[in-house]
């Protein structure tokens, strides 16, 4: 066995820093950090880019109208808050779908694709962007065929009925399960309503105000002892700080 004989506590022959600098071939391991050779600098994590609410970047105007009608039933205007669309939830999902979320860039996309057990999780190839494009079209077709009207033209009680049937998985669309499409909408509208306003939704922090969540605060030491009491803490958003 070719074992180095000098492997002994306390004995350091040559600092690796020097060795590596001398022996590093062109193109080899660029991101090397050496102890005792100054501060290690990390790449900055960029702050989120605030969404411009005047821009629509994913939906067609027709899709946008349909999403607005759906979202405004999921989170309607009432004495607790404005509607989902007035809170910016449609803007929110429009921008999310155009970005890495819409593309499912974190998802494992290696094949082969096959149906599994429920325990094995979603095995479909569809990204959230696909689900919206296909799902909105299929829902629109289905609703027109069933009721003779577009969803957004239905009176409110019928919109609610339609969504209840979707949620219960009672409709059969061509590609997408109606219950799964419903869950997709519900997840996203709540994300828009309750995530930081920097992403375009939760305007004026309406969602946070509704429940009393103080938002992007980072220190509660002065109130931690006030247990079980109502604390009226004004929420803050990341966008106030970047």
């Amino acid at each position: 066995m070719r074992r180095r004989v000098v492997l002994k506590a306390g004995l350091v022959l040559m600092s690796t820093a020097t060795a590596a600098a001398i022996m590093r071939p062109v193109g080899a391991a660029a991101r090397v950090l050496r102890g005792g050779a100054g501060k290690w600098i990390a790449r900055e994590t960029p702050p989120p880019v605030p969404v411009d609410p005047s821009k629509r970047i994913f939906f067609t105007p027709q899709e946008e109208n349909l999403v607005k009608a759906i979202f405004d039933q999921l989170i309607p205007a009432d004495d607790l808050s404005v509607s989902a669309s007035d809170a910016g939830c449609v803007v929110f999902i429009d921008h999310q779908l155009a970005g890495s979320y819409g593309k499912a860039s974190s998802r494992f996309k290696g094949g082969p694709f096959q149906e599994g057990t429920p325990e094995q999780g979603d095995q479909s190839k569809l990204t959230p962007a696909d689900i919206y494009k296909i799902g909105l079209a299929e829902m629109n077709d289905h609703c027109r065929k069933m009721s003779g009207k577009a969803f957004e033209e239905l009176p409110a009680p019928q919109q609610v009925e339609y969504l209840e049937a979707m949620e219960a998985g009672k409709f059969t669309y061509k590609t997408i399960k109606s219950s799964e499409l419903f869950t997709q909408f519900l997840t996203n509208v709540q994300e828009g309503f309750l995530s930081d306003p920097v992403y375009g939704g939760n305007r004026n922090m309406v969602g946070w105000r509704m429940i009393g969540f103080p938002g992007a605060r980072y220190d509660y030491r002065d109130v931690a002892e006030l247990k079980g009491q109502r604390l009226e803490i004004e929420p803050v958003s990341i966008s106030d700080r970047i």
Partner: protein, 590 residues
């Protein structure tokens, strides 16, 4: 191979808690150490400053800190008759992807395991000789005792500035701590944080029931503290952005704030970042390893020779690297022979979800580990005679949930999830919801194991790890018992309604909300090479200069989070390397 780097005394694969603690010990002893980490260097003040860290969508939901499944995932099936399929979306496997590993986004519950957890086989023989264990259950000792590990737990707690209240010091029970814990030599370095309102309710309730509530040990630091490496740690601020988030305050223990600042000062330490280790290289006679082969950020293949190889790439990647390097004998579930991938185990969860009526829980004042627990039904702290199962759970009131997106469905059973009714219910529940978590033990089973997937590959063309796992009869009985205890507590809290769940009532799935991220075992330590991959020093039986660090070493999981124990085990192994191995390389089992 495009290039070879200068030889190191030791190479460390992966720089999380295990890797950084090993690097600290070995460099302090004077060894020349190269660590290789797949992700970039990250420092908490630059990468998670308070100005951007408090972002639930980015970190809690889109999980920006974690290793995305697109980079590497696992395939999963419940039993070997099924075809394993890849976990494509975010799930319970929540690995780190930068320096510090999962130790940056952990929730910082910083436990020791109980005395019995290390010696369950002995315990069964001595205390339950007539007990019939569930068919196929694997119960074996670790080859190390709590007492041997105690000094290393103590050291880890000091390095990490752990907050808590001791329950037993030098054999003496202390008021206010956990009377069931193994004896400690010292009080915790920092005091427990202020309890939440829910913690207090649970404390009073369980105390009245005759149980023994205590504030759990936490890496959410209890006060300003200078750790043994001279690093100044800061008190936790209860911001509530904890598990899944990096802490920009220097107040949640992580390798990045507690250990690595010391490594940056040591000229015998080098860190290669954004380099993925592809395999461990074996010597010609296959009796030792010679170093590791890695893919660097330019796409070149490098070779790092070293006298000692420490693999600390997280439990799953540890096992996978051993498979990819063809070191050790793969487990065969049909014969029960072979050790690599055998004895995979997990964490058996039970819950109570409670809904009060007129409380202000103020859930946003929280940490990942703001929890008051009873250990009366954990591990072997109670008599199992006649119960028909082993193990138990730490039962805790956990105030770790205050950000709203994770709470939109925290509503009494039957509440609609949308419309004005939902808004009203959610606005009410946000302040009135509370959670009891039963974090249960897990014992391995003959039918649950890790292996390489025959079909699915990662981006580098290497086989994914395949997990074959489901709950066993012991899990089902144990957690149904624990759920019963949780239900008893729920009844006494004054909650208006509640529901209790025991996870083994369904098949295991990586996609089930509230399940644990604690994947355990698969390359376990022990005294017998026929049933363990590593000896009691976490030294590989088949290659004496290879050490494998992490929860992959545990043949069973305690009713606790795993990181305190894997950190202490790392320090134990480091001591064996420095005191004995370096002086005379060879098997430490002499």
């Amino acid at each position: 191979m495009d290039y070879t780097r200068p030889k190191a005394d030791a190479v460390i694969v992966g720089l999380g808690w295990a890797g950084s603690l090993m690097a600290e010990e070995l460099t302090r002893a004077g060894l020349n150490v190269v660590a290789i980490e797949r992700g970039p260097w990250e420092t908490t003040s630059v990468n998670f400053p308070p100005a951007i860290a408090a972002d639930e969508l980015r970190y809690g939901v889109r999980r920006e800190i974690l290793k995305p499944p697109s980079v590497e995932t696992l395939t999963f099936r419940n039993d070997s008759s099924q075809t394993a399929l890849p976990g494509r979306d975010w799930n319970s496997w929540q690995m780190g992807y930068s320096v510090g590993g999962a130790g940056k986004h952990w929730a910082a519950n910083a436990w020791r395991f109980s005395v019995a957890d290390f010696q369950m086989a002995t315990r069964v023989r001595e205390r339950y000789s007539n007990m019939k264990l569930a068919d196929g259950l694997i119960v074996q000792d670790w080859g190390i005792t709590y007492d041997e590990l105690e000094p290393h737990y103590d050291r880890f707690e000091k390095i990490a500035g752990i907050s808590g209240k001791a329950g037993v010091i030098n054999g003496q029970v202390q008021a206010g701590g956990n009377p069931f814990e193994g004896s400690r030599r010292n009080e915790f370095p920092t005091p427990p944080l202020v309890r939440s309102h829910w913690n207090d309710i649970f404390h009073d309730t369980t105390e009245k029931m005759g149980y023994h509530p205590f504030p759990i040990p936490a890496g959410t630091i209890g006060g300003a503290f200078r750790n043994p490496l001279g690093i100044e740690l800061a008190p936790c601020t209860y911001c509530g952005f904890c598990g899944f988030y990096g802490c920009g305050n220097f107040s949640k223990s992580s390798p990045n704030i507690c250990v690595i600042p010391a490594l940056t000062q040591r000229s015998n330490f080098t860190l290669l970042t954004e380099c993925t280790v592809l395999r461990i290289n074996k010597s010609k006679d296959e009796k030792t390893v010679t170093g590791v082969t890695f893919l660097d950020s330019d796409g070149n293949i490098g070779y790092q020779p070293a006298d000692i190889v420490c693999v600390s790439a997280y439990q799953l990647d540890n096992v996978r690297l051993l498979f990819l390097s063809q070191i050790g004998r793969p487990y065969d579930p049909t014969t029960g022979e072979g050790t690599l991938g055998r004895a995979y185990n997990y964490q058996t969860m039970s819950y109570g979800f409670l809904y009060f009526e007129n409380e202000y829980m103020n859930p946003f004042i929280s940490t990942g580990a703001l929890s008051t627990q009873i250990d009366d039904f954990n591990g072997d702290n109670f008599d199992h005679t006649g119960l028909g199962f082993l193990g138990g759970a730490g039962i805790q009131a956990l105030s770790d949930q205050g950000t709203p997106l994770g709470m939109t469905d925290r509503l009494p059973a039957g509440t609609t999830q949308w419309g004005s009714a939902w808004k009203k219910a959610f606005a009410h529940s946000y302040q009135n919801y509370a959670k009891i978590q039963g974090q249960g033990t897990s014992y391995s089973h003959r039918g649950s194991y890790l292996s390489l997937d025959p079909t699915y590959k990662d981006a580098n063309g290497q086989a994914l790890l395949r997990m074959t796992f489901d709950y066993n009869e012991n899990d089902r009985k144990m957690s149904s018992f624990v759920r019963g205890k949780i239900d008893d507590i729920c009844k006494q809290t004054g909650a208006k309604s509640w529901e209790t769940v025991s996870f083994p009532d369904k098949h295991n799935s990586p996609f089930r909300p509230y399940d644990s991220s604690h994947t355990i075992g698969g390359a376990v330590m022990g005294l017998d090479p026929a049933t363990s991959v590593l000896n009691r020093y976490q030294q590989h039986w088949d290659a004496h200069n290879l050490f494998v660090l992490g929860a992959s070493s545990y043949p069973n999981n305690g009713g606790y989070n795993p990181t305190g124990t894997l950190s202490a085990l790392t320090l134990w192994t480091a001591k064996a390397i420095i005191d004995n191995y370096v002086k005379s390389p060879g098997s430490l089992m002499r």
